[in-house]
Structure formats: C-alpha cells, structure tokens
C-alpha cells in the first residue's frame, strides 16, 4: 500500500475508534450504575453504620458521589475519544490520551478478571454481557493505540 493511503487508513481508524470509545463510555456508566444500585440499600446501611450518620443524610451524599463518578467516567471517555478524533483529523499532536487509554484498558481487564472470582455472586447473563462489552472496549482502545503509533511511524518516513 502507498504510504499516503496507509496514513489515511490509520487516520480514519483513529476517528472511528474515537467515536467507538465515546459510545462505549455509555456502557461503562451503565455498568457502574448497575453495580451501585443492585447493592444500593446495603451500601447506604453500611456507610451509615460506619460513620454514625443517619441514612437520610448518607443518601443524598451517596447520590452526589455516584453522579460525580458518572461524570468522571463520561469525561474520561470523551477525552480519550475526542483526542483520538483530533489526532485522526490532523488537528492534535499530543500523546497524553494514549496513557489515559492504557489506564482504561487496565481497569477494564481488572473488571473482566474480577468476574472470574468465584466468591462473587454475579448472574451469568451479567457476566457474559460484561465480558463481551468490556472486551470490545479493550479491543477498540488497543486498535486506537496501534493506529496512533503506526501513524507516527508512517509520518516520520
């Protein structure tokens, strides 16, 4: 393949991966929310007991914390996705988003391996769904990282 053709291919790949990462951020949010709300009452009760505060006080604080976590996850995915799109369109040259992506891969992998812990009682359908979607996100992130470095090599030529 011609070098220009390869460059365009990897640039297009970065844009596509970026869009995929932003979209899959929705899944990460759903996963976090499901995790919190399935053990909602237990977490509230345990926190109230440990802190000595009333459950009526712990509840709004807990909701604010969840909202912050969802916001952080969303911003994180958007940051990685938008950076990938900008690099793909030739508008950005920074590489910080790659480190960010590697951290996200590590967290995803931890999540997947956690599912194989036999002491946790997670329904089978949740396990299968999580494996499929987390693996998809990991592969998209890996594809993005590979495209980024391939593009760097090709541009240096």
């Amino acid at each position: 393949m011609d070098t220009d053709v390869k460059i365009r291919y990897f640039q297009n790949n970065l844009v596509t991966c970026g869009l995929g990462i932003i979209t899959l951020g929705l899944w990460t949010n759903i996963k976090a929310l499901l995790h919190f709300f399935t053990e909602f009452s237990q977490i509230i009760a345990d926190t109230a007991k440990e802190t000595g505060l009333e459950e009526e006080i712990v509840l709004p604080v807990f909701i604010v914390v969840i909202a912050l976590i969802v916001l952080i996850i969303t911003i994180w995915h958007i940051q990685i996705g938008m950076s990938s799109i900008r690099v793909g369109r030739g508008r950005k040259k920074h590489h910080f988003y790659i480190l960010s992506a590697m951290l996200l891969i590590a967290l995803n992998m931890y999540d997947v391996f956690y599912l194989f812990d036999v002491t946790t009682e997670i329904p089978l359908d949740a396990v299968i769904t999580t494996i499929i979607l987390d693996t998809t996100l990991t592969l998209v992130l890996l594809d993005m990282i590979i495209s980024h470095f391939a593009l760097l090599v090709l541009k240096k030529r």
Binding site: D2, D4, V5, K6, R8, Y9, N12, R89
Partner: protein, 387 residues
Amino acid sequence: MQEDFHYYATYCAAFIAGYTHEECMDICYSAQFVDLCSKSFLSGIGAPLSAATTQLQLELMDVRTDIIGLQDITRIWASFHFLPKDLYAVKKWCSKKYINKYRLICGPNGELLAETVKLAKNTSLQAVGTAMHVLADTWAHMYFAGTPSLVINNTDYYFYELIPEGDGYTEKHISFKHSPKSPDNPDKCFYVGSLYQMNENSIMNLGHGRAGHLPDYSFIHYKYLPAWNGYKEVVKDNPSDYYKAFCQMVYAMKYLRGDIDSFKTDTYAYDEVAPYEGRIKEILNTRQLSVSEDFKKFGEELSGRVIEKFDVNKYKEEYVSSSGNDKDKTFLGKFIIAALSQKSMVTNKIYKSGNRLAGVSVDYKSKGFKGIKDFAKLISLRRNWDE
C-alpha cells in the same frame, strides 16, 4: 450537469457539429428535458410512466427502498445520469453484492456509452438529445453510481477544493451542510450536501448527493476520497472534463448526422472546436454556480439566432391534444420512445452482466413480450422498422 451545459452548451455543440438552429433547439431541449421528465410530469399528460428519466426531490422523499423500489431507482439513474463505465469490472476480496454496485460506477468512454450513441443513430433528434445528456453526465458524474449505496457513493471530511495559484494550487477544505434552503457559496467553500445516513440503501446515498452539487459546477477542481477507492484520493478537474465532454458531444453528433462512419470512444472533435477553445474554456472556468447566460450568448453568436428560454410545458399541449398512434409523432412522443429505448438497452446490458440491481430484462425476440406493458411500444416500432 445543469441547464447551462445540458441546454445551452449542447445547443452550441450541436451547431458546431453542423445541425441547423431548429435542429439544435430540438436536441438541446431534449437533453435538458431528461432532467425534468419525471413520473409526476408524465402522469399529468397521460404518458407511460416507465419513460421517466428522472425522479424529483419530492418523489425521492416518498420512494420505496425495498428491492422493487431500488431496481426502479437504478433503472432511471443508471440509464440517464450515471451510465456505468464497466459492467464487468473486477475487484478482489469483494462479495457479489458489493461487486454488483461497484460495477455501476459511472465513467466516460465505457462500452455502454458507445451503445447509447449508436442507439440514437437514424432515429430522432429527441434521441440525439437524450444521448447527449447521457454522454455529458458520464463526465460530470464519474466515480459515483446511479444506485443508492453508502459503500460506493459516500464521502467524508477529506474534501478539498484546488484553487489555482501561480503554477500550482492551494487547497481549501470544503465542508458540506445539509441545508436545502441555503444556496452554495463558492467564495466561502460552503456547499450543501445530502445528510449522512448509515443505511446502505438510503436515498441520501444515491448518486453524487454526498458531494452536493460540486460535480455539476463547471469551474470547480477538487479532490476527495470516494468510499470505493480504498483510501486513494481522486482528483476531479471539472473545467478539463467539461471541455472533453463538449468536444466528444460534437464528435458524437457528427457521427449521428452521418458525417462520420463509426463512433469510437475516447475520440474528440478537438479540431472542430479549436476556433472556440479559448471562449469555451473561459466560460467553463468562470467561478459562478451557473454559466447559462455565457453559453447562451456564445450559442447566439454562433448561430445568429435567439435561443429560447427552456420551458418544460412547451410541448405538453401538442401531446395531450393528440390521440392514439399520433402521440408517437409529437415531440414528447418521440422523446418518450427515445427514453424507453435507452432505459431498455441499459437495463438489458446490466441484467446480462449478471447484475439484478436494475431488475430483470426480457429478450423479446426469443421470449416474446413479457413485463412492463409500456415497453411493448418498442416491439411494435421495431416491427415497423423491420417491415
């Protein structure tokens, strides 16, 4: 292409080829009429709907995109506006479904173009005009296919106008907006294009919709990445292509008049057009959305006669007021026969190549008449010619 080329430039080419003013008017009217002969128009005059040579925007909004609808769309657009260049093109690692669409990509100087021009020989001026429309569009609409297809007709953000500067060009990024009411603005590189639709068979992915009207502007020189070309860019030089289209039209019409024995593709009447080359290129390079006035002025200087403004209703009354077989002798009647012949020929060629995107084609001679009854007219005409 637009009215400036299909009507006025075709008039000029016909006159240079040797036709009289009256003949030129019939030819250029027919060439432009291909862009307006829709089912709505035909229904209004009680003409066979199968003779439709275009689909208006309002018709396209309601059109079906199931297999029947897609075949109807492809029959019209591939026959008159996006004549396929190579129905037997080969591309590796592609499914049959993909290759069928790939083979409908339009381009100049294909085998079908030669068939189109030869089909118009010894018929009518309306057939000549129809053939000239098809010929001209093979240059303007090359690299797009006359079937709704995202994987063939899509474009992306890599779209640049090449503006001449000194010995080279400067690149200016073109952005498309889906805003049907806003006019194109060449000075700001602001152009209207069709909306991105992920559905493969969406009507938004028909022809050059994803590139807006750019292929129809004679002045523009641009580069982009067609979806079918594997990330290789394509450079489109409209002024040069339009000039070749003009010269090829002159050559084709000289053949149709009988001045030349045979029609060959990739042959142009450069010598005949040479005295007017500077003038034509100046018009084509004029940076405006339509150069109708310039071509009109040029045509009137050539012939010394006034070129009437195009009126789609000019021959309506003649057709409506005649009856029976007399309808075929009217202007619109002859145009309808030419349109049916062209559509029948192209559909047959696509079908014989193993491609079902334009539907099924029946060999009347061996199988007898089957199918859409509008086309039965062609058999009775052929019998008359044979007799």
